[in-house]
């Protein structure tokens, strides 16, 4: 009998839903990053108009190593990503933006004869100078 032309029926799986909900978010993030990096390298190779073998040659590696890198399962070192980025002319690591710097300065906390706490230099002065963030003050 001729069937109606239609989209596939949606199948919902309790088993898959439960497993998806129970995943370790760190492992999931690592898997995702490995795959996204591989995809970016794949795009970089294609943008150069190279095949896997040509890229292997440029990297001084066997094609089987490149296959592994591109499979999205490989845990790259930052040195390797730098090297690949230079060969492909793409940026795989973003380290050029200035990191947030929290500056710490030692303080002396004393208690006088009237049980008053004294901090030197004064906390107010340090805050005005931007030495302490709010979080660091809370740590004090």
């Amino acid at each position: 009998m001729k069937q109606m032309r239609k989209k596939a029926e949606k199948h919902s799986s309790k088993l898959i839903n439960e497993l998806m909900a129970g995943r370790d978010k760190h492992t999931t993030a690592m898997t995702r990053n490995r795959m996204l990096l591989a995809a970016k390298i794949d795009d970089g190779i294609k943008a150069k108009g190279w095949g896997k073998s040509q890229f292997a040659e440029k990297m001084g590696k066997e094609p089987s190593v490149i296959t592994k890198w591109l499979s999205g399962t490989h845990n790259f070192t930052s040195d390797r990503l730098t090297e690949i980025g230079l060969v492909l002319g793409i940026e795989l690591l973003r380290v050029d933006s200035k990191p947030n710097i929290i500056r710490y300065q030692p303080v002396i906390v004393t208690q006088n004869s009237e049980n008053e706490i004294q901090v030197s230099p004064e906390l107010g002065m340090l805050i005005n100078e931007g030495i302490f963030s709010q979080r660091v003050i809370a740590d004090c």
Binding site: K2, Q3, R5, K6, K7, A8, E9, K10, H11, S12, S13, L15, I16, N17, L19, M20, R23, D24, T27, T28, T31, R32, M35, L36, A38, A39, D42, T67, K68, L70, S71, G72, T73
Partner: protein, 166 residues
């Protein structure tokens, strides 16, 4: 044998549509059976496969680099999802471009075999997907199945029944 292609919403996203197959009006897809068969022995590998399918569906699409190609007959699209290098599992799929995957079953791949034909379970799962791929291809040629939504979905007669059973 009867079977139908069903969509798996858990993995389908903007980049790829993920399907699996239900045989003989059973409750579970081939992919769910694969999970059940292996979750106790290879839990980490199963989680890894779920993670990868989610990324493929939502972010990268089914790029060739993520699959071991030519696991079936030439041009039939039967592939295996790459997993961790020291993993024990093989999951077979049919891949149409980067936007459609049909998940089949698979099993444990013993380290001491070179070809899937050396393992009965892998051979059975792989040959089932080869058969399904062949029948889908015939329907695509006959325009009984078409690619819709800019190549991201299958549409048409997605239920199959062997003529000997009909």
């Amino acid at each position: 044998m009867k079977y139908k292609i069903v969509g798996l919403g858990e993995f389908t996203g903007n980049e790829a549509t993920i399907y699996s197959v239900i045989l003989n009006n059973e409750d579970e897809t081939l992919f769910e059976k694969f999970i059940e068969e292996n979750i106790n022995s290879f839990k980490d590998e199963i989680y890894f496969i779920l993670d990868r399918l989610e990324v493929i569906g939502n972010e990268t699409g089914a790029r060739e680099i993520f699959f071991k190609l030519k696991e079936g007959k030439p041009g039939d699209g039967v592939v295996a999802l790459y997993d961790e290098p020291d993993s024990n599992l093989r999951l077979y799929c049919i891949k149409y471009g980067t936007q459609i995957i049909i998940l089949g079953g698979g099993g444990q791949k013993p380290k001491d075999i070179r070809t899937l034909q050396e393992d009965n379970k892998l051979k059975e799962e792989n040959y089932l997907l080869r058969k399904i791929s062949k029948e889908i291809t015939e329907r695509i040629k006959d325009k009984r199945i078409e690619f819709s939504n800019f190549g991201q979905e299958l549409e048409g007669e997605l239920e199959f029944e062997d003529e000997t059973d009909a």
